[in-house]
């Protein structure tokens, strides 16, 4: 079975102050119909750019190389009416900031029905009935009244639910969810996630889910991709991700998270700061911050390495380090020995 969404060797450069800056480098991903793929990474790692590229929402002047195929069709060959149909019926975006992404002077009813009325030529009454049904589905009380309200009259969580309702209204085959819960408080987050998951199961949609929350990705996604500096650095089953990461960066992310039930004296932060694709050094982009980095890491950009059936990684030391990444910095364990050895190596150079 071919995947619903197939991204291959995607490299994107955006014009910034007169020059083209790389934001994505050689990104590959695959998503099958009805499945959920997580996209994890820090700010600036290229998560949002990836979905914007898939939805063809890049700014003018963007330079795109590689392939994005949806259901076998090359997305970047779509023009005019075909592009509109792709955006209208095939993929649907859920944006992070629902408030900024809804027109402040239009009622929620307009927001929910405009796509149905315009693209599907549904009569206004039928579209409104459907909107009311959808609002009820996403757990919004008194939906008739909501249709007459303006965005500023709704809370953030409510607005995000309306956003999700509007996205699923057109029955897309793929939902691109760009950090849909990041702006919400934790309890609302959980509700919104469960609504999204329920809608997905009900309508059999595939979801490309962006988050910077590893645990959330682990809970809702089948597979997860970790992005760093515009590159895929790891891909594997979500359930394995925080137990057996395949890349030092993922491991560091896992360790930087506090865990309920453990009293941590001090959270291990990742040294240095996140790199964008544009500033990334030659060789492995994570090498300057990696406690396992060796000379070889800095020489050439590593390619994706398959680790058995489990997944793939962009770390050349993985065959050696596999399974030992999470053995923490506690005294005397192997990983910190490694670190010390590395540090010594560094010093002698």
């Amino acid at each position: 079975m071919t995947a619903l969404l197939n991204v291959n060797g995607l490299t994107v450069k955006l014009p910034v102050m007169g020059e083209l800056r790389t934001v994505l480098r050689d990104v590959d991903l695959e998503l099958e119909a009805g499945k959920t793929l997580g996209l994890v990474g820090e700010s600036g790692s290229g998560k949002s750019m990836t979905v914007r590229t898939i939805a063809r929402l890049l700014p003018d002047g963007a330079d795109v190389k590689g392939h994005v195929r949806f259901d076998g069709a090359e997305v970047f060959d779509l023009r005019g009416e075909a592009l509109r149909r792709y955006r209208a019926g095939d993929v649907s975006m859920v944006f992070q900031d629902a408030r900024a992404h809804t027109n402040p002077v239009r009622r929620m009813g307009d927001f929910l029905t405009e796509a149905l009325c315009t693209n599907d030529r549904m009569p206004r009454r039928a579209a409104e009935a459907k909107a009311i049904q959808l609002l009820a589905d996403v757990g919004i009380s008194d939906p008739e009244r909501r249709l007459r309200q303006y965005p500023h009259e709704l809370s953030g969580g409510l607005l995000q639910r309306v956003m999700i309702a509007a996205s699923v209204a057109v029955r897309p085959r793929l939902i691109l969810a760009d950090e849909p819960t990041t702006a919400l408080d934790v309890t609302t987050q959980a509700e919104v996630m469960s609504i999204l998951a329920r809608m997905q199961a009900e309508y059999g949609m595939a979801v490309l889910f962006i988050t910077h929350d590893l645990e959330l990705a682990g809970a809702v996604c089948d597979d997860t991709i970790v992005l760093y500096a515009g590159q895929v650095v790891e891909r594997q089953r979500s359930t394995q991700l925080h137990r057996d990461p395949l890349h030092p960066y993922t491991a560091a992310l896992v360790q930087a998270r506090p865990e309920i039930g453990h009293r941590a004296r001090r959270l291990p932060a990742i040294p240095g700061h996140p790199t964008t694709a544009y500033e990334a050094p030659g060789g492995c982009a994570f090498a300057p911050r990696c406690r396992f980095a060796q000379d070889a890491c800095r020489r050439a950009v590593p390619s994706l390495l398959q680790i058995g059936e489990q997944g793939s990684t962009r770390c050349i030391r993985m065959p050696d380090l596999h399974g030992r990444l999470l053995a923490t910095t506690g005294a005397g364990d192997e990983a910190s020995d490694h670190q010390r050895a590395d540090a010594a190596e560094e010093a002698t150079r």
Binding site: A55, L57, L83, R84, R85, Y86, R87, A88, G89, S92, M93, F95, D97, A100, H101, T102, N103, P104, V105, R106, D110, E114, A115, T118, N119, R146, Q149, Y150, H152, E153, L154, S155, L158, V170
Partner: protein
């Protein structure tokens, strides 16, 4: 049954609540308008009182008069009263439309004004229409279709904004009245189409800088709205561009533009004085200039007050219109 009653009652309460708020909002604005007018009347009256020269010297026209004759004149024009009494008398009269008697024309000021107001009103209305139509058209085109033409239009607009009104008037007269002969050089014409024909050139001269300003402003507003996040949502839904522009770009960009355009049109009132003078339209502006020169205090005060009142009323109308256009401004605010 009881459930429907409750729902209906809630709906009525909601409606009544928002209705009350609307009334309170409008009343508040009208109260503000009256307060501003009151302050303006103080300033108008005080400014002329503080101005050099006094009406008595104009009434006597430099002749030496007997103290009795002066006393009669002072009594006739109430110049012997204390200032505050003069002000109150003037204000009381103004409220009933009686602005006193013109020193020069020896007629009631209201009559003098009424004869000249239509020419000014026509000029300002025609200029306002030109500002809105041409300014919004230029701005919308330049905002929606970026390119060489749009860029040159915006550059041209910047240049036009820098041209003083009276210079524009003289150039327009030279080209369209003297050389091409399409329009009369000066005069207001007879009421009706002839008046419109006579006022066209003055209205264009008056509107020109504001057209450029409103054009630039609406171009900027449209460009900003085009890159707004909510427009990106609309694009991501595959809606046709025409639909997105109509529904999400123009409407949202219209709010700031209409506010500033309204203020600009209000500003035309002041600029119209110069234009009336250049084109000899015989309106309020021209009367104002001659009355100031002749120290016809009652007429100057009345015209100033009319101008200020027109400006403030226009401002209030803009405020109310904005509140209607933007649901976020609390006319009928309901909470979720």
């Amino acid at each position: 049954m009881s459930e429907t009653t409750v729902v209906a009652a809630q709906a009525v309460a909601r409606k009544r609540g928002s209705g009350r708020q609307t009334v309170r909002f409008v009343l508040g604005r009208i109260g503000g308008l009256l307060a501003t007018l009151f302050v303006a009347s103080l300033v108008v009256f005080g400014a002329l009182y503080a101005a050099p020269g006094n009406p008595l010297s104009f009434l006597t026209q430099g002749r030496s008069m007997t103290p009795e004759a002066i006393a009669v004149l002072e009594a006739q024009y109430h110049l012997d009263d204390p200032v505050w009494l003069q002000y109150l008398r003037w204000l009381g009269g103004a409220l009933t439309g009686d602005f006193g008697t013109s020193i020069i024309y020896n007629q009631p000021v209201s009559q003098v004004l009424a004869a000249r107001a239509p020419a000014s009103a026509l000029l300002i209305m025609m200029a306002a229409i030109i500002v809105l139509l041409a300014g919004l058209a230029v701005g919308a085109y330049a905002g929606l279709k970026p390119g060489l033409l749009s860029r040159s239009m915006m550059a041209g607009a910047t240049a036009v904004m820098a041209v003083p009104t009276f210079v524009a008037a003289v150039v327009l007269i030279l080209v369209f009245a003297v050389q091409l002969g399409w329009f009369p050089v000066f005069g207001a014409g007879t009421p009706g189409l002839d008046a419109v024909h006579h006022t066209t050139l003055p209205a264009i001269a008056l509107a020109l800088a504001s057209v450029a300003f409103v054009g630039r402003l609406s171009q900027a507003a449209i460009r900003q709205e085009l890159s707004a996040d909510h427009v990106q949502t609309a694009i991501s839904r595959g809606l046709p561009r025409r639909f997105i522009v109509q529904r999400h770009v123009i409407r949202n960009a219209a709010m700031p533009v209409l506010t500033v355009a309204g203020l600009t049109i209000a500003g035309l009132i002041a600029a119209s004085v110069v234009i009336e003078q250049v084109f000899q339209l015989g309106g309020l502006g021209q009367l104002l200039v001659s009355s100031v020169q002749q120290k016809d205090f009652p007429v100057v005060q009345a015209i100033c007050l009319v101008y200020v009142a027109a400006f403030i009323v226009l401002n209030t109308v803009i405020d109310l219109a904005y509140a209607l256009l933007d649901p976020r401004i609390g006319l009928g605010r309901r909470t979720s």
